[in-house]
Assembly symmetry: C2
Homo-oligomer: 627 residues x 2
Amino acid sequence: MKMLSGLSFVFSIDAAGTCLCGGVHASFWRINVRSTFPGSGVWLHLTPETQPDDCSLRRSASAAALLLHAAELRRQRRCGNTMLTRVKSAVVNFMGGVMAGGSGGDHPGGGGSDLPLKFPYSRPEFLGLSADEIECSADHIARPILILKETRRLPWATGYAEVINAGKSILNEDQACCEVLMVKKKPPGSSAPNRLNMTRRRSSLPNGEDLNLRDNLDGSEDLTFHYWALFDGHAGSGAAVVASRLLHHHIALHLQEVMEILCTPNLPPPTCLEEEPVNHLLTTTSNRALTRAASLRGAAGAPGSPNTPPTRFFTEKKVSHESLVIGAIENAFKDMDVQIEKDKASYDISGGCTALMVLFLQGNLYVGNAGDSRAIIIRAGEVIPVSAEFTPESERQRLQFLAYMQPHLLGNEFTHLEFPRRVQRKEVGKKMLYRDFTMSGWAYKTIEEDDLKFPLIYGEGKKARVLATIGVTRGLGDHNLKVHDSNIYIKPFLSCCPEVKVYPLSQWEHRADDVLVMGTDGLWDVLSNQEVSEAVTSFLANCDADDQHRYTMAAQDLIMRARGVLKDRGWRISNDRLGSGDDISVFIIPLIKDFPEISSHDWDSRPSVSIVVLLQRAVKDLNFLHP
Amino acid sequence: MKMLSGLSFVFSIDAAGTCLCGGVHASFWRINVRSTFPGSGVWLHLTPETQPDDCSLRRSASAAALLLHAAELRRQRRCGNTMLTRVKSAVVNFMGGVMAGGSGGDHPGGGGSDLPLKFPYSRPEFLGLSADEIECSADHIARPILILKETRRLPWATGYAEVINAGKSILNEDQACCEVLMVKKKPPGSSAPNRLNMTRRRSSLPNGEDLNLRDNLDGSEDLTFHYWALFDGHAGSGAAVVASRLLHHHIALHLQEVMEILCTPNLPPPTCLEEEPVNHLLTTTSNRALTRAASLRGAAGAPGSPNTPPTRFFTEKKVSHESLVIGAIENAFKDMDVQIEKDKASYDISGGCTALMVLFLQGNLYVGNAGDSRAIIIRAGEVIPVSAEFTPESERQRLQFLAYMQPHLLGNEFTHLEFPRRVQRKEVGKKMLYRDFTMSGWAYKTIEEDDLKFPLIYGEGKKARVLATIGVTRGLGDHNLKVHDSNIYIKPFLSCCPEVKVYPLSQWEHRADDVLVMGTDGLWDVLSNQEVSEAVTSFLANCDADDQHRYTMAAQDLIMRARGVLKDRGWRISNDRLGSGDDISVFIIPLIKDFPEISSHDWDSRPSVSIVVLLQRAVKDLNFLHP
């Protein structure tokens, strides 16, 4: 989460209540805090020691309030645990007010909305936490690392661990999901998912043979896929919760559209499906199912038709099965985003979220990423990046190009040009470094009045922001997000489209210690790919190879290395570096394919009815998108 | 060059004058030709064997005419050389008419314009060809490979070779340039290049020491850079000729703007230059030259000013010296393109061109590319790509995004969606594969009336086209290029901005056989990076290491491997593959830095006065851009 401007979360608080920013991330602010906690009144005095712009000034008020919350929690904790609930409640009330102004109407936990929540805040389903456990997990002082319970297993013995932030938001805004989904063939004639055509397969996990889905190669029955996803919320937890519950259903619906094609691997996807149009007047009563031969004839043109050229001269682009899966994932992300937008009319869905998902289907791993989470594969100790981050810096040229083409999106308050720092009025007429959407290098230009506007992209590294507001440029939600105290919407600059990369899992030999690591930015902000690789590799080498928990233990170890321990003034990791104050979530997925099968009893003890109920609700929710 | 649609240049012609397309590239056409050459009447009958769209039909008429020209030349050649000039003249007249319709007013050689040429058609200056030699070089039948004469040398003993196409255009539309330029400091107080501030340094080539420009490290005097460039023209040779004469001057002008900064490597570039505005009313008579200390003060803010924050809290993006050079190259390309556009009011500048340039400055190689030429480095036999191609396929999403944002650019005749083939009317209501700017994968959509429009991006590989017209998406010129028989301009979709990559030459040890290879697409269409690497490496290994001509011989060998030999029905290379029928140009630049110095006498025997005249003309030409 990199929502809030110009302020880090490493700080100290003295006896008089003066909160001093410190550490490598803090550079802008000196904050004087007078607190009468516990109670309803909190007085913040912000003294900028530099000359920040108004936007970052106002937005940082929210950040300061969050800092205060953490500091107070820590102080109360020293006085004993009895005060905790009371303090929390006061902070929630206070934060509701601050955040409502600071993030364009979003609010954490739904405290400021009259609408019901779409899904209640929770931790990932597979953790199986009680309400009490969920409350305890949000302890910003102890920051307990949550892992899978002994009684629970994830597919492929996937490891998982998470920890809450150091106080920047009341709730853990990361969410996670892990499922095995079985897509059923659409009933003949149906074009809408009005029946429950997919179920989560919990009763039997695939073994090595199953992973290749050989059963489906004859074009029959079901299509099974494995799915892991991380969502990193900002400006509220709502979007992340909704996406963690529904994105895989959107993917399943899109895969269902093409499952017959995917299950016939020997023929390329037909360019045109030879179905009659749904509203065709003369449609026959017998359902015309897609046959491969008919589809191919359609693609190549029917010989003999006067308007249709002979097959042999027809140039046609070849489309692979893999690219159909990629297209399904891409469109599922778009549908998920549209659904959040529409549901906001009826539900309280706060904020936005990044989304990183891994899907295993027919021998391939598909890694789809929209945001700044990251996935890497560690194979024989070597790091293979399988995702790329989307940030104001990595997407600068796309965003500047958009602003250049549609300047009204900048509301006459921003300029699409980038400068190394804010331009001052006295510099008009002088030459300053700049770059526009065509440039990766820098050059000098003579400063004009227009260049005094705030830059569309501003800041560096973790502090880089779009429109002085948001630090990540792809994801779901954020439909109401505006520049503070303005009518400038952020959403047009955000893309909900993932970049999807394919890793041909079944074409490689993997060892037991070869894994795919997925982590939210809280992990990667403090640990490099190489550090993560070395940590995981050495940890797994010291585990019993038959231990089903080794990947969860390794995930816990990673979180520990990224969070660090609380010392004096903050969280510290190795070499006395600062630990991550962000929410951190990690999946470690083993890539070996002949892992011992795990029985359903071990894996999930919940009654299966709850699963069906959830699914029916989800499909009902999705229906309006696929009428 | 990939300008013309749907037709290759591999063909045979029978005794009756029937010209049959053949070979792997041809699939659309059967062309019956009745020719009464030599004379003014040529009758073409095109029989489409498939159902091509109107656009490609009309455009292919031009291609067929070009084919005819080559076939006729070949036939005449068999009857003896005396007819050659007469045939050429007739073909030029004929082509003027065909091409004027086929490429939106462009015409080869200027035959159809009342305006004078900006520069006469020629071959690269450094070849030093006579008018007769230039005419002979355009022999589409023999396709002689041109190399540097024994009496001539290029900087760093660079090798060069080229060959004309097999008949697709009358002239060789590739151009090349190789220069050593010395940028002089701007005279104090001047902001326009109204004096000749750069000269081409021909009198002494740099040795290994000079290449690092150590003389300049104290901030004094000159900035020397080495420059190699290839330009691949289309729809006429005008833009390529102009760009080959002027682009390096634009680069020099932009480097001059920052040369004091570049020559002071110990300090980062100042964000703001502390010069007074040029039109300042109270400007002092003493020129305020840029001093580093003053600039840094300006960048950090002057302490004591009430509006200026203390230095220590000022966050400012660090800009490297390299990124200033990149910015200079980027803006030079833009200026070159603007100049072509403006000059078209006064001169006949036909068509457009790609541009690939390599610049050596202060220990770095900068490779800037706008188009589909390519540069690779071969180091110890290993291939290091240092450029990427810009084609309708590689830039599909950028172009689709632009069309989506600005649909009027499609003139109601094109759709921004991509389909694997043309959609037929009878398919409306059915589902067909598509993708839009958000997708790298494919999905099915229900075909609507609007999808019957021609796709913005259509075709695959070398046949991919933007707006059914052009096969390369970055370059210079093309300002008048329109979709045939329409008012839809292509230029808004074309970018003149290069991608610039930096190779830190001085940080690597290089051997005598380590080289940078630059080639137009004619080379890379038929030879892979690996094949080029193996050919060059094995060729150089068999040369005398002291032979100054070894790199030119290697370039000649590469052209030979790409062009092949004329057999039966066309040009053939190894394994009986088709050779390239395109123009091919190749630089081979050795990367070893201690190459023996070459005297000026060996290198260029032309009188130096001609150089000065050209430069003065060039600078005069550039002046209006930098008033």
